[in-house]
Symmetry: C2
Subunit: 310 residues, 2 copies
């Protein structure tokens, strides 16, 4: 059964599922549609944090100790930058810089982000297709009790401390889905479409907000299965639970399932979660992804749930 | 006698004299007017090789082992760049990148090169004024037996191997001297104007070609003294002697003195050179600058020669 699997994903948490997926099925059959709402320009460089996390994770270059960035990183650039009085709130590793400098140059030459990323993935021997959600600029902005913050200002500089009131995706109305995204979702031979356990509001919603993607998902013949980001009543990592609280949402799989209402056919729920109806078909398993085996297991469980809906 | 000393200089060789000068007199009295004909854009980054050599040398950051670039350099960026298929013929160190990234960003914001460089020099506690010859883009191009080459293509990529037929400074007709350059040269309180033993054709000529600079030098009340780049009948380093040969010039101090005709009042000639009239006033000394003591000595000898002309 050599059929394509599509996965919608953000950065760190989602990349773990995508890596598991690339071991559960041949990597060449995996298409990841990646959030670019976190993308921003810093020191004149075009930075795509979630895309780069996928590139590092799928090529075996991810820094598993830090949990972000790449392995075997060095920080000479940052040290020199500081000595010159440059902005140092966003850390740029020496090796990481290569992606940013090359991407910036190639985008400035007029190339599309999706095309640039395909080249990077090919250079690093990545079998999966890594597609940005859009080649057009979309900027996630967070309305907080301290005012409107650009995503990286909220996420990195302010460490998600301000209370969130709403989230907007600047420019998304005019954004077109990147080449290949709609075709992958709509492919009649697609086996399953997964939504990774990334932050629904910050990482998945920007993808769903690109005109055409939500409609394609709703119309897809393939089953759409979300992996719940809630484990044992809270989020594994990042600000998901804190944000849900600030947005007045009950923290639980049912809330996430309702959030994805009209799109998903089923949800893979963590076995530690309290039992109960979540409003869509579901299966339960251990969704914590610490080891590669965990990641392959969660990917396989999500695929099995999708297959069961056929 | 607290009077200003001006020095026209290129990169590595000239920076040694400027460093010596900053020890021979208080650094705050030194104004270096630096060649920017070597400046170019690489991987989208604005690179100013001679300016940066001055910044590194005067702040004690120069790599004395390599003879170029900065000390304590690391190459993680280049390694990652190569793995992505990026151009790797021009080496960019991790720490060196900080200058290029910040300069590129600030120039793109609309700031002037001279202003950006003044900030860098201040951040690193450099007492001397480092002035680019111009804030406008001038590009040295080398006509060779292999065709017209951009300077870095000739110098770095082709290692000065093609035979030189002529040199041109693209854009120089429209270039204006950077703020402070003409004032420094024309300052009635200026003690001396030195021309460093940099390559006359590639490093000093671009400065002289900026409209207004040659005229200001010819009209300056301060004595103008060149330090000959010829030591013992050849050039210490770089392509000076090879180029003179290819240009059909006799390799010797007299040729250099004639080249600077109408500008210099005297030349400091290496004591190893054959004796003879070089057409201008001169003094002889050991001009080889291996140690800091050597550099201070050559700077002092050049100043003494200038003072003797008063």
């Amino acid at each position: 059964m050599r059929e394509r699997v599509v996965v919608l994903t953000g950065g760190v948490g989602g990349a773990k599922l995508v890596l598991g997926l690339c071991h559960a099925v041949p990597a060449e059959l995996v298409t990841a549609i990646v959030n670019t709402g976190d993308d921003f320009t810093h020191l004149g460089l075009s930075i795509s944090p979630d895309i780069d996390t996928l590139l590092y994770t799928l090529s075996g270059r991810a820094n598993t100790t830090l949990g972000w960035g790449r392995e075997d990183e060095s920080w000479s650039f940052m040290e020199a930058l500081r000595s010159l009085g440059g902005e140092d709130w966003f850390l740029l590793g020496d090796r990481d810089l290569a992606l940013h400098v090359l991407r910036t140059e190639r985008l400035r030459e007029g190339r599309r982000l999706s095309n640039v990323i395909a080249d990077f993935a090919a250079a690093w021997g990545i079998g999966a297709a890594i597609l940005p959600m859009s080649d057009d600029m979309v900027a996630t902005q967070v309305e907080t009790d301290e005012g409107l913050l650009e995503f990286q200002q909220y996420f990195v500089r302010r460490r998600c401390e301000p209370a969130v009131r709403a989230i907007r995706f600047e420019g998304v109305e005019a954004a077109r889905p990147a080449p290949g995204t709609i075709a992958a979702i709509s492919d009649p031979a697609c086996r399953a479409i997964l939504i990774a356990p990334s932050n629904p509001f910050l990482s998945v919603d920007p993808i769903l907000a690109v005109p055409g993607i939500r409609e394609a998902l709703a119309a897809a013949s393939a089953p759409v299965v979300a992996v719940s980001p809630i484990v044992g009543g809270t989020a594994v990592k990042g600000p998901t639970a804190k944000m849900m609280h600030e947005l007045g949402l009950e923290i639980g799989a049912a809330t996430i399932a309702a959030h994805y209402g009209g799109i998903i056919d089923a949800m893979l729920v963590d076995e530690r979660d309290p039992p109960g109806d979540i409003g869509v078909a579901s299966a339960r398993s251990d969704t914590l992804m610490k080891t590669l085996d965990d990641r392959v297991r969660v990917a396989s469980d999500a695929l099995a749930l999708a297959d069961s809906l056929r």
